[in-house]
């Protein structure tokens, strides 16, 4: 309830910031309705869930490896209990655990809600929501959103130590949205959308304005189906300073059909999740194909949590991980509304169990091609009652026997600021291609705030100490206080090389009110984004015919020989020169004094004339004269 109050407050605040008050009020009422509806809806579902739980679990006992039509049984069973479902929806949940070579452990939760309906069908208003959260559904239809990706991340993903994540995200908050091509005022919709999202997720997304929004031309193509690709309908913004906290996790969990009451979401205990090296919450909504022939589109809501637990702070230095150690919870049941609920443990490096042992032993193994590599996973199906054992709880334990080496990621990036002093500086971006013999192109996207004035003529790209001219450059210079710099480049990375991109900038002195409350902490510059099709070691799966685990299907894969990777570099922290904040009055007074000195001396010389100075009479004489003047007698 506390958070509902917070949400309401945030919605009110966001409503206040809305430009058009009428639209804002409408948004507030709608938003409030949708949120309260969503809460009721979750509670209703929970009640429903409790009564249906047993039956569904027994129903799903034996179909653990079936393709999507398996879900129809549950939906038909639920539809038989409700009167007439308008369209089909499914919910799947998944947890992937990947032991990292550094000894840390990577846990990735993926929750997929798929709904075979069309929000934008003419003359049809979608008002009946079942599994899909109503707050997001209303948002999609109100702002004509085609695709929306929002992530909140705490910490920085260390690609060199940890490899590629399933879902990359930059530190801070990232939001990118493709609007429908029917939207006329994209900027207005974007502004309102960020304010509403700010209310939904209790985040500072309302700080997104024109100074940090860009329209990248090539780096962010739609991930779902559809054919609108003009960047006019795309908006991208990053808030590198955003702090992610429990208040963001709570509304995020409320979007799940089972909330955090059942299923994998039970593990998301905030004091454990936030006690980690890396935590990324994300919500992705996109249109996907309903079936293999792609005759109709369905809406996919994918909620993900990616978390890396540190060997030393969480694991107390021991290479021994269990659910309880990581999350201080164990699993006791699947979400009753889910059609699939699985836990995957990456055991590729451990085929015979010589590196670490799993306890309880995995009931089955499966293989998946992900990020250009064929990996083996141990699978625990939560729908199967045998998974939970005698204690009615699942606590997977990984215990290492020997240390391991990791496959080096083929692509990774770094960034830092060079130079000293507060006048100028240089941004260095290093892009590593670790592939031994293949060159491949990457798209580099840099968004630099206006107060670091980039000089594009100082841009250099060098690979192997030779100039490497980008084949495509899109540069949009900044406008003071209006928009940031946008630099997009297509660079060919030679095999086994480091490519260095440098560009010089000048630090601006801002108005004293434009500084953050802690100006000497510095200003954040969002991560640059490296997007690439990396040559794959194994053939990628491009077919739709097989059922893949969720984590391997986020980025659409069009060809077998390569896979899509997005790498975010570190955000930068740059110091700017600051004025003295304590003395605006003094400065105004002193400067005005100098101007007055100029004015006064010129005024003096312009209006007065030279005269011979006569000696002034004594005090007594002046007094006498004054009296004589009053008496009307001639003066002395």
């Amino acid at each position: 309830n506390l958070c509902t109050a917070a949400l309401l407050a945030a919605v009110l605040v966001c409503g206040l910031t809305c430009a058009s008050t009428a639209a804002a009020e409408e948004a507030i009422t709608e938003e409030y309705e949708s949120i309260s509806n969503a809460n009721e809806h979750v509670q209703a579902q929970d009640d429903y869930a409790r009564s249906q739980k047993r039956r569904e679990i027994t129903e799903h006992d034996d179909d653990q490896n079936e393709p999507p039509p398996s879900s129809s049984s549950s939906s038909s069973s639920s539809s038989s209990s409700s009167s007439s479902p308008p369209s089909k929806d499914y919910f799947k949940e998944e947890l992937v655990i990947r032991p990292l070579s550094s000894g840390d452990i990577y846990a990735s939760f993926q929750f997929q809600t798929r709904w075979d309906t069309d929000f934008f069908a003419p003359g049809k208003k979608v008002s009946h929501y079942r599994l899909f959260p109503k707050s997001l559904g209303q948002l999609m239809s109100k702002f004509s959103v085609r695709e929306m990706h929002v992530s909140f991340t705490q910490g920085y993903w260390r690609t060199m130590q940890w490899g590629q994540p399933f879902l990359p995200a930059p530190p801070g908050a990232e939001l990118w949205v493709w609007f429908q091509d029917s939207v006329a005022d994209v900027d207005g919709a974007w502004k309102e959308l960020t304010n509403v999202l700010s209310g939904i997720f209790c985040a500072s997304l309302n700080f997104i304005d024109s100074t940090n929004t860009v329209e990248p031309t090539a780096s962010f193509k739609p991930l779902g189906v559809g054919n609108v690709t003009h960047q006019r309908f795309l908006r991208y913004a990053v808030l590198p300073r955003e702090i992610v906290c429990t208040e963001n996790l709570t509304p995020w969990k409320k979007l799940l059909p089972c909330g955090s009451k059942a299923g994998l979401a039970v593990l998301m205990k905030s004091e454990k999740l936030f006690h980690s090296s890396f935590l990324s919450l994300a919500v992705h909504i996109r249109p996907v194909c309903q079936d293999w022939g792609c005759k109709g589109t369905a809406w996919e809501l994918r909620q993900t949590v990616n978390v890396v637990f540190d060997l030393h702070t969480t694991g107390q230095g021991k290479r021994e991980w269990s659910f309880f150690k990581m999350f201080s919870r164990t699993l006791t049941e699947a979400c009753p509304l889910a059609t699939s609920s699985k836990v995957y443990i990456d055991v590729t490096d451990n085929p015979q169990g010589e590196l670490f042992e799993l306890n309880p032993a995995a009931p089955s193994l499966t293989q998946a091609v992900v990020l250009g590599d064929r990996r083996t996973y141990a699978v625990y199906d939560l729908m199967a009652s045998g998974t939970f054992g005698l204690l009615r709880s699942l606590n997977v334990l990984l215990r290492w026997k020997t240390p391991v080496d990791m496959l080096r990621p083929l692509l990774h990036g770094e960034r830092y600021v060079a130079g000293y002093g507060l006048q100028t500086g240089e941004i260095h971006t290093l892009i590593y291609n670790n592939h031994p013999y293949r060159a491949f192109p990457v798209l580099l996207l840099d968004i630099v705030p206006w107060y670091l004035r980039l000089y594009i003529h100082t841009l250099t790209v060098t690979s192997k100490s030779r100039e490497n001219k980008p084949s495509y450059i899109h540069y949009q210079p900044s406008k003071d206080r209006l928009r940031p710099h946008l630099l997009e480049m297509l660079i060919q990375l030679p095999p086994n090389s480091v490519t260095e991109v440098t560009v010089q900038f000048e630090r601006a002195l801002l108005k004293w009110t434009e500084y953050t409350p802690d100006p000497n902490h510095g200003f954040y510059v969002g991560s640059s984004v490296i997007s690439a099709l990396v040559p794959s070691v194994v053939a990628m799966d491009t077919s739709y015919t097989l059922e893949h685990p969720l984590f391997s299907t986020f980025f659409p894969c069009k060809e077998e020989s390569s896979y899509f990777v997005r790498v975010y570099t570190e955000p930068l922290l740059v110091n700017l020169p600051t004025p003295d904040f304590s003395m605006p009055y003094n400065v105004i007074c002193l400067t005005c004094t100098v101007v007055a000195v100029g004015y006064g001396s010129l005024y003096n010389l312009l209006t007065r004339t030279f005269q011979v100075e006569e000696p002034s009479p004594g005090v007594v004489k002046r007094l006498a004269n004054m009296i004589r003047y009053l008496r009307g007698v001639p003066l002395l």
């Binding site: 000293y420 002093g421 507060l422 006048q423 100028t424 206006w450 004035r453 000089y455 594009i456 003529h457 450059i473 540069y475 949009q476 210079p477 900044s478 406008k479 003071d480 206080r481 710099h485 000048e506 601006a508 002195l509 801002l510 108005k511 004293w512 009110t513 020169p577 600051t578 004025p579 003295d580 003395m583 605006p584 400065v587 105004i588 002193l590 400067t591 100098v594 101007v595 000195v597 100029g598 004015y599 001396s601 010129l602 003096n604 010389l605 312009l606 007065r608 004339t609 030279f610 005269q611 011979v612 100075e613 006569e614 000696p615």
Partner: protein, 435 residues
């Protein structure tokens, strides 16, 4: 006279050529005292780079030069050093010729006045002799070319040098009496940086004086010439602006150049009064104070023209000085232009009141600028107030210098009409005061 001037030019070019090839050129291009956002060479190169990328140079907020400058450097980018040296040379030669001509006029007038016996008898020591006036033009060229401010400005390739050349050509053509060329160069100077607009009044006064047309509002000849000059000025301004439009086929340069000069959005520190004042300004007073500060530059034109209507060349000097003190993005290059005129007023030296103090202040400030900048930006042991304090002091020094020369000029004029040794009523020696 040509030989010493050539020698000075050779020395000046040699110094610049040596500095261009030295390691001093690179750091100078970053000095905030020498380059401003308006005229930094780095920004010219950036504008050309943006053109090469196919974007309008005015699409960002880095480039604020006029289209003619970009057109000029589009062709001579590889010979930029030479262009800047030539610009300085042109300025010096133009000022040299202008002052030479002006001195002749002054001398002729003085001769007529002496013949008419208009000066009081004790003023003979104020009369200027050809001997002392002979070297003044050379000194002017010397003051401009060998002034460290000019040299730094040239080596940093600040386009301020080009603006100075245009203004010098304007002064030359005015003093030579060519109304058309004067109007063209004035239009060009206005086009480059708005502020020279105020030089319209002195130029008009000088040309009127030269044509023996009295400044009398009831005389049609006065209005006829004023109209003629104004039309020439506005016409050439119009042509230049339209030409710029056709060069880039957009009007983007108007807000990006003139809007930038007038609304002062870039608060990069410089030697002027604007940057810190508007960095610390309360947002709701900002517009008001921008108006006040900008009007301040143009404000003195009318009273000064009334007071100095007999002495338009001194009026030009005053105007240039006021512009360089109160403009929104001043650099040391602007200061060097009016400093070049100081030898012309060497005969005022005996009436200057605080020239020693002012010289000390200017020298000390010039030395302290880089020191305090280093302490603030690099060492971190000082803050912005230190640098701001020096800019304040430097501007007070400039104001005192200009008002001192103004005072001295007015006083000499007073003595020329009332006698040098004034007596009180009781016969004792009098002191002059402003009342």
């Amino acid at each position: 006279m040509a030989a010493p001037l050539t020698l000075v030019l050779i020395v000046a070019v040699t110094i610049r050529a040596v500095l261009f090839s030295s390691s001093l050129a690179e750091p100078l291009m970053e000095r905030v005292e020498v380059v401003s956002p308006l005229n930094a060479w780095k920004r010219v190169v950036e504008g050309l780079a943006l053109l090469d990328l196919g974007a309008s140079p005015y699409s960002g907020d880095v480039f604020h030069e006029t289209p003619l400058i970009i057109y000029l450097f589009h062709f001579v980018i590889d010979y930029a050093d030479i262009v800047f040296m030539i610009a300085d040379g042109i300025t010096a030669v133009a000022l040299y010729l202008a002052v030479q001509d002006y001195n002749k006029t002054v001398f002729r007038k003085q001769k007529y006045a002496l013949e008419a016996d208009r000066y009081p008898h004790d003023c003979l020591e104020l009369i200027r002799t050809p001997k002392e006036m002979y070297y003044i033009p050379l000194k002017v060229a010397l003051f401009y070319l060998l002034n460290p401010f000019t040299i730094f400005s040239c080596v940093a390739k600040s386009t301020c040098g080009l603006n100075n050349a245009v203004i010098a050509l304007f002064i030359l053509s005015t003093i030579k009496g060519s109304a058309f060329l004067s109007a063209v160069f004035l239009a060009l100077a206005t086009y480059q940086s708005i502020y020279p607009l105020t030089l319209f009044a002195p130029a008009l006064l000088f040309l009127l004086q030269r044509l023996y047309i009295p400044v009398n509002f009831y005389r049609p000849s006065f209005w006829l010439f004023t109209l003629q000059y104004a039309v020439m000025y506005l016409g050439s301004l119009c042509v230049i602006v339209c030409l710029s439009f056709f060069l880039l086929s957009s009007w983007d340069f108007i807000p990006s150049v003139y809007g930038f000069i007038l609304s002062v959005p870039d608060l990069t520190p410089n030697i002027g009064l604007f940057w810190y004042f508007f960095a610390e300004m309360f947002e709701h007073f900002r517009f008001f104070f921008i108006c006040v500060f900008q009007i301040n530059v143009f404000f003195y034109t009318i009273p000064l023209s009334i007071k100095l209507k007999e002495h338009p060349v001194f009026l030009i000097f005053m105007q240039i000085a006021i512009i360089s003190i109160f403009k929104s993005y001043p650099t040391v290059g602007d200061i060097s232009l009016y400093m070049a005129f100081l030898p012309v007023w060497s005969h005022l030296y005996r009436f200057l009141r605080n020239i020693f103090l002012v010289s000390c202040v200017m020298l000390a400030c010039s030395a302290l600028f880089p020191v305090l900048w280093h302490l603030w930006i690099y060492a971190g042991s000082a803050n912005s107030n230190f640098y701001y304090a020096i800019t304040l002091l430097f501007n007070v020094g400039q104001i005192l210098l200009v008002s001192d020369y103004f005072y001295a000029f007015l006083r000499r004029e007073h003595h020329l009409t009332h006698g040098l040794y004034l007596k009180r009523k009781d016969g004792s020696e009098a002191t002059l005061v402003l009342k």
